[in-house]
Amino acid sequence: MHAPARTSAIETAIRKANAAGRKALIPYLPCGFPDVTAFWTEIESLDKNGADVIEIGVPFSDPAADGPVIEAASQECLERGVTLAKILEGLKARKGAISAPIVLMGYLNPFHQYGFERFAADAVAAGVSGCIIPDLPMEESDEIKTIFKANGLDLIPLVGLNTSVERLRAYASDASGFAYFVSVLGTTGDREVLPEEVSAKLKVAKGIFTVPLALGFGIKSPDQLAAFAESIDAVIFGSALIRHLREGKSAASFMQRWK
């Protein structure tokens, strides 16, 4: 027996962009970058300038899947005292002020220490719609998935070039929000050329997932996306945005390139 289908705010936002004839834009910033106050200004700016979903990074001392740009930015955020509790407080204080659905992306241990049940309750109260947890493959996700479902939070799966059809199907069977397709066999960080295999594998994934498919890891400019246009519904960018802000430019001008 199935519970009545819940509408995911994340999926709705992506579909809305698609209905308007464009890919949904999902910018990523680690909380506390460029600094603790400017971070929230940039988030508000991303929200006003076309972000359909906003991904907020929860910094961790030992990231095992980030490239150098994100790793360095996250490290700075940790040094500024950012914690999961403070991120939730900051979001709660701004609840209703940010219209794009919020996704938290972070490694499992900070969530584990916070307590999954307590986190789910506080995340909902803070207006969070879902999480991406890169070190949580399906083999380990049962407990958190049950808790998230009960609280109406999306657990967004990460899949990639080496994910078998069998595993894509397993992830698709209970995905909500969207599926995050990792464009390279590597870590986050933008690259000049996306591998040709990506195109073929994205088509396979598109045929399997019923939730929207987002492409991330290594996305630098809109021209990279032409080859995959049919298969993807959304695009995620992190390193490129961080680099843009490091050059002293604004989130608003970054979003201009993608509209």
């Binding site: 899947a65 916070y114 083999e139 380990e140 994910t163």
Partner: protein, 394 residues
């Protein structure tokens, strides 16, 4: 219980992109490692190249001093001077038989790096070792040894610039190069199947010790087995054989650092809490927000904020006891072993010796106690010099 777990600990907390190489490794363990060809070649390498069996030596002087029968399992006499080579020969042979031309490793003090570089040179594999920039600076001799052996040493500048950060970088390399590369992890840590794979390669220590003990004493089992625990591979190597024998006390010795309140240490079993790091749920040194804390010990090989998940399970079940020894106790035991037995031990192994020497009353008179002397101390001469100078000044 899932097969990837030891009690509540272990698992496979890795990015999805690492699941296929973990499955590939599991399959290779079933098909290659458990096959007769691998076992024959591995046994040959351990005998002819590593120099096994390592002696089980009864210390006449320490035994007289303490009233116990103190035995040392002499892993320090292996090629490259520590137990690490048991594991790297196994994993390098496995990489060869899997058709992987390249192996990578993380290293802290450089002992696992040197053991991996050695195995790679011998097997004709390309080898890259990740090492924290802080460790590269303080372990310059081992960097040179690895380079002489043809290995590329990559200095890691992220985080605390030590072993845990080197491990993060090794995982990233493995994600990107999984098709050509085997990750030769250095301890009983990481995602399943690594903790089991490394333990099984190291379990030769306990198997030999048991049969040597029986042959030398006519007795069946010792009263206790004792080993230092950082990641915990020398300890699991010794303990595994004795776990089913309830009469044998199993004691793991962690590094308490300086032992002063508030100081950094490496005692994740005695003082840590459960969490997730480097692909496994285990006991960790972490703050209330789940950030991993820096660790410290005079023994670089124990300087790690986590430990193997099987140790966390052995502690939880009560089958093994974990205790702490501080820098000063370890250094005192180091000097005693030098002067009384003519053996210069690694500072890591000195922790295990120190526990027994400082807790003689925890054993019955005449008890047979086997201590794993996991490595030799030549690598520690620089730090020993500093400690001696500090003592003279103090």
């Amino acid at each position: 219980m899932k097969k990837s777990y030891f009690g509540d600990f272990g698992g496979q907390f890795v990015p999805e992109l690492l699941m296929p190489p973990l499955f590939e490794l599991e399959k290779a363990i079933a098909e290659i490692v458990h096959g007769p060809e691998f076992q024959r070649r591995f046994a040959e390498l351990l005998a002819d190249y590593v120099g096994r069996p390592s002696p089980l030596y009864r210390c006449p002087n320490l035994s007289a001093d303490t009233g116990l029968n103190i035995w040392l399992k002499r892993e320090d006499l292996n090629h490259t001077g520590a137990h690490k080579i048991n594991n790297t020969m196994g994993q390098a042979l496995l990489a060869r038989m899997m058709g992987k031309p390249r192996i990578i490793a993380e290293t802290g003090a450089g002992q696992h790096g040197v053991a991996t570089a050695t195995a790679a040179a011998m097997m004709g594999l390309e080898c890259v070792v990740y090492m924290g920039a802080v460790d590269v600076a303080r372990q310059a001799h081992n960097v040179r040894r690895m380079e002489l052996l043809g290995t590329t040493v990559v200095a890691v500048h992220t985080g605390t610039k030590t072993l845990k950060d080197a491990t993060n970088q090794a995982f990233k390399d493995w994600i990107a190069n999984q098709r050509t590369t085997h990750y030769c992890i250095g301890s009983v840590v990481g995602p399943h199947p690594f903790p089991t794979l490394v333990r099984d390669f190291q379990s030769v220590i306990g198997r030999e010790a048991r049969s040597q003990f029986a042959a030398k004493t006519g007795g069946d089992l010792p009263a206790a087995v004792v080993a230092c625990v950082g990641g915990g591979s020398n300890a699991m190597g010794l303990f595994h054989e004795f776990v089913p024998h309830a009469s044998v006390r199993i004691i793991g010795v962690e590094a308490a650092g300086s032992g002063e309140p508030g100081c950094y240490h490496s005692a994740s079993l005695c003082k840590g809490t459960p969490g997730i790091l480097h692909g496994a749920k285990t006991q960790l040194l972490q703050d209330a927000d789940g950030q991993i804390e820096p660790s410290h010990s005079i023994a670089a090989g124990l300087d790690y904020p986590g430990t193997g998940p099987e140790h966390a399970a052995l502690k939880a079940s009560g089958r093994a006891t974990y205790v702490c020894v501080n820098d000063a106790q370890a250094f005192a035991a180091f000097k005693i072993l030098c002067r009384r037995e003519g053996i210069i031990p690694a500072l890591e192994s000195s922790h295990a010796v120190a526990y027994v020497l400082d807790n003689v009353s925890a054993f019955a008179p005449g008890d047979h106690v086997i201590i794993n002397l996991s490595g030799r101390g030549d690598k520690d001469l620089d730090i020993v010099e500093q400690l001696l100078k500090a003592e003279q000044k103090g």
